[in-house]
Symmetry: C2
Subunit: 292 residues, 2 copies
């Protein structure tokens, strides 16, 4: 199967499943509508697909990790809803549509985010494909990746760094937490569920860390060089928001070189793990060269 087919099929599958979960685990009404609105907004579903593809590299069928992948995407979705709020990034548009608080209101958006975050733990705790040891491992790792030493701390640091000079080390630290830890979880969870041994887990963790930075550097590059229609948000918004970026700290060419450094690390880790690299290697290249 080609990568583009793999992406397309699994995107459709996870989209359907996410909607089904929200319908099953909430009551008809405004809260459910707001949860569905942001879930249905789509997006690349990168995190679930990275989880699926990593599992596949270890011989795991995608349906075994569907609930975990859904929980992960719900956390990503809740973080976007809260980040878009007026008190945070104050964004009116997300993927070309009004943001959740614009479509509903701020209170509803806050609650829809809270509900999606809460549901993520429940989905893993109730997933019949997992045993209790797996459920506990995944809930623990997902909480760590998304909490006060992970994603939420990254968002806090990102906001505190606005209008400030930050060093490359500080910038990487922000991104490792804000976007990196959840992306790393995709890889770690896929490897774990696929039965990776200790050495394989170690290498896949390294790969996941590198992948998070590749993703973020390319995000920053696209904000400078991208096509607004393709990205779905205005180009140059980082500069407008006075956020530090890789191109700003390293220049555009320097940022690209930095990205290639992490691509090399990710490829090396993948090779060291000694698994079927085809799909994951293509995904690294896709993430590194994506145009949106």
């Amino acid at each position: 199967m080609t990568l583009s087919n793999y992406l397309k099929e699994n995107r459709q599958w996870i989209n359907d499943q996410l909607q089904q979960y929200v319908r099953d685990y909430s009551l008809p009404g405004r809260l459910q509508n707001a949860m569905l609105y942001s879930i249905e907004a789509g997006g690349k579903r990168l995190r679930p697909i990275l989880l699926f593809a990593t599992g596949r590299a270890f011989g795991l069928n995608e349906d075994k990790s569907l609930a975990v992948a859904s929980a992960l995407e719900m956390i990503h979705t809740y973080s976007l809803i809260h980040d878009d709020l007026p008190a945070m990034d104050n964004d009116d548009l997300r993927r070309g549509r009004p943001t959740n608080h614009k479509q509903f209101d701020e209170a509803t958006a806050i609650l829809a985010g809270d509900a999606l975050l809460t549901l993520s733990s429940q989905l893993i705790a109730e997933d019949d494909h997992l045993n209790n040891e797996q459920r506990v491992f995944l809930i623990r790792e997902l909480s760590k990746a998304s909490g006060a030493r992970g994603m939420v701390e990254g968002q806090m640091q990102d906001m505190l760094s606005e209008d400030k000079e930050v060093s490359l080390e500080q910038l990487e630290n922000i991104h490792k937490n804000k976007t990196g830890q959840l992306l790393k979880f995709s890889i770690v969870a896929g490897a774990y569920l696929g039965g990776a041994n200790e050495k394989e887990m170690h290498e896949m963790t390294r790969m996941g860390e590198a992948l998070g930075l590749i993703f973020q550097i390319q995000d920053d590059i696209l904000d400078v060089t991208g096509d607004a229609d393709v990205i779905g948000k205005p180009v140059g918004s980082d500069e407008g928001n006075k956020k530090s970026t890789y191109p700003q700290l390293l220049g555009l060419e320097g940022a690209k070189k930095q990205k290639e450094k992490y691509v090399a690390i990710a490829e090396e880790a993948l090779e060291n793990a000694g698994i079927d690299q085809s799909l994951l290697s293509e995904l690294i290249q896709y993430l590194s060269h994506r145009d949106h």
Copy 2:
């Protein structure tokens, strides 16, 4: 031990522990300060104490349920932080101190709430006193109680009902979700960890449901009859917020009678469970007659 000693000792203990957990599971800085600020604001710690006391009625030592009780109180604390936000109840004061978003800012308050919610799952997943089956059961039940069919849905319904006529049935439904499910979890979790059998779980669940309504009706009564200095918030705020209350729907005497009905149900369930009732029975009376 008298009830007032039991309350005092366990409050101090859970307060210390909550602070310790936040320090251990977050990084020094603004996010941690905001989490600690609301955690240190204190409060009655009713939910942890109900959990401890229920466990004790089944012969369980309090230290066995400390992490679960802390996770529960973190969820309660996060819900207060988010409910106080300008987009929600827009409260400037909580327990006589500035609310989290007044002390810090809205973005920080949203993130502190998100971080506390996330931490709650992690605490249970990592608790050494529990086996994996217990961890999964408790995370699942706590997520259900606090999510899109529980507390968050209750808050949504509560907001939607403002300025509207609601029936007694609708009012009870709101409260069962908004405050009742988390209070019920206190009882259910204590009984579960204490090794309650099926019949005992059934009765304790009934008791927990009744307790939630006793708590809420007394809350509404205090808003009419209470002393603002003792309660820590202005009397009559429900009327000001145009929220439906039990006294409004049933009159003050009717509300008191409704409360007594649930006290009788709770006492009966406790007796049916056939456990040591002394502490729990005192707690029911305390909740029913509390002045703040």
